[in-house]
């Protein structure tokens, strides 16, 4: 019989404790983010797909040495360049990343000796078409310059 009332009172007290916990949270501000209208700012070290680094004139640092192409284990980078008259270095004319097979290993970024590649902060990538993930990074650089 003693257990009957102690169980009743401890039970009631624990219920009241629980209600006090939720009541304290009630007037506080929401901790969630109103997603489609606002989104999290991505951390600077987030590893999104690669992108070209622009120098002061907005051009790429790339000299088309093709080290990244060779370093890529899945062969998703293809690039081309030309050597203009009277210049020492090649100039990049095409840089295509096939993101469908990229595993974000970062070998290309590591292998680049001319500070031309980095990871982007892009994380909102969704599409129903495969072609959307074959990216022209040179075009992306131009868009970033604008």
């Amino acid at each position: 019989m003693g257990g009957y009332f102690t169980e009743l009172f401890t039970g009631a007290k624990s219920l009241l404790d629980g209600m006090w916990v939720t009541l304290k949270e009630f007037p506080r501000r929401p901790v969630t983010l109103n997603y489609p209208h606002e989104s999290v700012k991505m951390y600077p070290r987030f590893r999104g797909h690669i992108e070209l680094i622009g120098n002061q004139e907005g051009k790429s640092n790339c000299i088309v040495c093709s080290m990244c192409q060779r370093a890529c284990p899945s062969g998703c980078i293809s690039l081309a360049g030309v050597k203009p008259e009277g210049e020492k270095k090649k100039v990049l004319t095409k840089y295509i990343l096939d993101f469908t097979t990229c595993s974000l290993c970062g070998s290309c970024v590591e292998s680049c000796n001319f500070n031309a590649l980095r990871f982007s902060n892009e994380y909102n990538l969704a599409s129903t078409r495969k072609e959307d993930f074959i990216m022209d990074l040179l075009k992306r650089l131009e868009e970033q310059n604008q």
């Binding site: 939720t22 949270e25 009630f26 901790v31």
Partner: protein
Amino acid sequence: MSLTLFNVVLAVIIAISFVGLNAAYLVWCERKGAGLFQRRPGPMENGPWGLLQPPVDGVKLMTKQLLIPGGVDKAIFMVAPVLAMFPALISFVTIPFSENIVAHPIDVGVLMIFAFAALGGMSLLVAGWGSRNKYSMISSVRAVSQTVAYEIPLMITTITVVMISGSLNLGDIVQTQLGGFWHWNIWPLQKQVGFNLLMPFSFLILFVCSVAETNRAPFDLGEAESELVAGFHTEYSSMGFGLFFMGEYANIVIGACLTVILFLGGWACPVGDLGFFPFTHHVGWFLLKIYLIIFVFIWIRWTFPRTTIYGLLNLSWKYLIPISLFNLLLTAGLLKVF
């Protein structure tokens, strides 16, 4: 109050719109409250603070197809949602919102409300039976055993209050509690309740029972979605489901009204009668009190997890019924002595 046709029609329109509006906007309150208790914003896309959500939901429900699964007992299947909504609507007839605002003061008002509340339990049984679905059947058996278990302490507690006020008329029950919050039935130390120290506990019993009667969390064993899909309304789509939903929220309002009338002084102002300002007038106080009770309903729902079926029945048969029976005897004795 003269019973002309115009008055009757007006009363019916006001009653139905009150129930409908409450049912629709309590869903909004519930979702908003759930959001705030869980530190989310809640509904906020449709209109300011999501206030247009209920009409949008209503349109969605009404335009959906009313699907009747093969092999169900058609007549029973169709009757069940109506049976869930209509007793709640009827019960509003006798609830006094103030001295004058009551559709029809019935001398056995308390009895009538309980009779129709029992009919609500019946609708769950009929829905489960008519759906031809194992889960619905299990759910309705649970819901009915729960309704039976919790109606007993609810009624015993109500009998206590009826003995104190000497009337089954809800208006008369409020009349005995007028004149300040210290006259309310919840307080033990007054002559009219016979100095019964258990009065706050019987208020708690009544409150717990009205939560359980409305099949709400933490007592929502009937629609335990982790085990029974959606319980008795698994097979209902469109407005069939909508009626169950509206019936549930109308029942919540009835439960809150009953708690307020029996223990919290109904339309009585807590500090005598201030009379002049609309909000401090009778109806305002009554609505304020029932919405406070409904807030506690929502608060409880979003605090506690669902109980088990045996925990639920243990609480009723081992604690609520013996305590309320003891309280009934004690009140009867004390009323005789004082």
